[in-house]
Subunit: 306 residues, 2 copies
């Protein structure tokens, strides 16, 4: 096995995904820098052997900047915002270095960021991630990536460290974000439908564990049904993935859809249920807690309810 | 292996499911009677070695009557309607013989039929089926069944002949129909969501075969996504399962939901898409053709479109 070149890689955004991604990059032997507005996260990362510092000062030495923030405004701020606010990393990066942008954003936003990076000779990989915090920490994410061949080459050491699977979606920014949006559309709908089906079945007197047992073996199953419905059975809403992800992601999807004059009524219905969950104080619970909206509306008691 | 008793079993309703079920029962060595209002179906079955005749005359000799018609009104007519119209089989059946009712119906309807059968000493198994015509013909259906222990014993020879899996849902009619409704809720939503996701992705310039390839490996997948999305990729709307199933089944589910004061907005949204498909002349196409509603609304061209 050829010894890989050691790269200097920054992970900007050390939330539940970014922290694990930074750990994975560091474990792969790269010089790894971590940045976040939450200083506790940064200090934890440094305690594990990671580096940090002044982003603007470090930017010129970076081979790759992985942007693991929440959304498009945060991404734009990190890439092109004011340096004093911890943003604007692209201004300092060298020609041929690469941005890997991981937030769920609109394809049009990804294309705009790619073009602005290109003006400075910086490569841009449109690279939304999927898999959750555990896989992020294990270097086993799925990454849905698109960008120029040069950006893939430059990004490869970081991708290899972070991902089990890289779906190469095309040779420009946009398709990576687009397929992520397709996946999130289905994900949000499937979780809300799971909640609708579980609580509907309960109104008919079927025990929730029995619903999971039977449906998992029937045509009505989905990956997310099998993953999330057991949380309802167990009454366990520890947020492996929180309700609040979905108003954000389904909102982005419906923005993209509106730009394309695309009518998405099922996505829209699912969004309403997550908004009701978030609005009624469940935003930080596991996304299976959308079932609590249905249960409340139907006056039924979920497992673990007191 | 013990030799099983040869039973006299009627299958009433020789549509795409019932015909295959009758073949499976016959293959298992039972005396098998077939009935349908469509005489061509009956003649085909007779040509294969099946029996037919006057249902009222044969009813007293039956051990089991499998009711494989479309819906609740047809089920009620077959069980308790006028003999001259080919219905009313229960009136002639002997005490201890068993009805296996396979249509998707409301749990309350199943309970009512069970009670009316019981008045005449006839057992009733609430036994909706799942799996499609190919599995029906192969004796590999999934059957979601509930009823008294006696009805399970009486029904067993027919269940063994028709089903690969029998989910035993409880000791009275109702839960069988309820879990079927849960499965159909998810099924209808997942197919419509598949269509929404595929066409949404196409508006973003992703090729449909690529969407299937990636999503099948991601968290957004479902059994029905993987089964139906390839029909869109292939432009093949040969009805393995037709659009018109869904206005019927989702309508039944929303009727059950309304009885229970249960709000099911995602199911309701999916129903609208299938109604639009059916209303625009696509009712007899494969249910993946609900994608044509989305494509038309978004002015995009699906594979195979001319």
């Amino acid at each position: 096995m050829t010894r890989e070149k050691i790269n200097s890689i920054a992970v900007i955004g050390l939330g539940s995904m970014g922290y694990g991604m930074a750990q994975s990059v560091m474990r792969a032997g790269h010089e790894t820098w971590g940045f976040d507005v939450v200083q506790d996260q940064v200090q934890s990362f440094v305690a594990e052997g990671g580096k940090t510092g002044d982003l603007a000062a470090i930017a010129p030495s970076l081979d790759v900047a992985v942007i693991a923030v929440l959304n498009a405004p945060q991404t734009e701020s990190v890439l092109f915002g004011e340096a004093g606010m911890g943003g604007g990393v692209v201004a300092g990066m060298g020609a041929g270095s690469c941005v890997i942008s991981c937030a769920t954003v609109a394809p049009s936003f990804a294309r705009a960021m790619e073009a602005r990076c290109a003006e400075r000779g910086v490569l841009y990989l449109d690279a939304p991630i999927s898999g959750g915090a555990v896989k992020a920490a294990a270097g086993q994410l799925s990454i849905m990536a698109s960008g120029t061949p040069e950006s893939f080459v430059a990004a490869r050491p970081a991708l290899d460290a972070m991902a089990e699977t890289v779906f190469e979606m095309g040779d420009e920014a946009g398709p990576g974000s687009a397929i992520k949006a397709v996946n999130q559309l289905l994900g949000g709908v499937h979780i809300a439908a799971m909640a609708e089906a579980m609580t509907f079945g309960m109104t008919q007197g079927i025990e929730p564990d029995r619903i999971v047992e039977v449906i998992s073996k029937c045509a009505g199953t989905s990956w997310l049904f099998e993953n999330r419905a057991p949380h309802i059975v167990d009454g366990d809403y520890t947020p492996r993935s929180a309700v609040d992800i979905w108003p954000k992601d389904l909102g982005i999807i419906l923005d993209i859809a509106r730009e394309a004059n695309f009518s998405a009524p099922i996505t829209a219905a699912a969004l309403q249920q997550f908004l009701a969950a978030s609005g009624s104080g469940l935003g930080r619970e596991d996304d299976a807690a959308v079932a609590k909206v249905y249960a409340r509306n139907a006056n039924i008691t979920l497992p673990g309810d007191t």
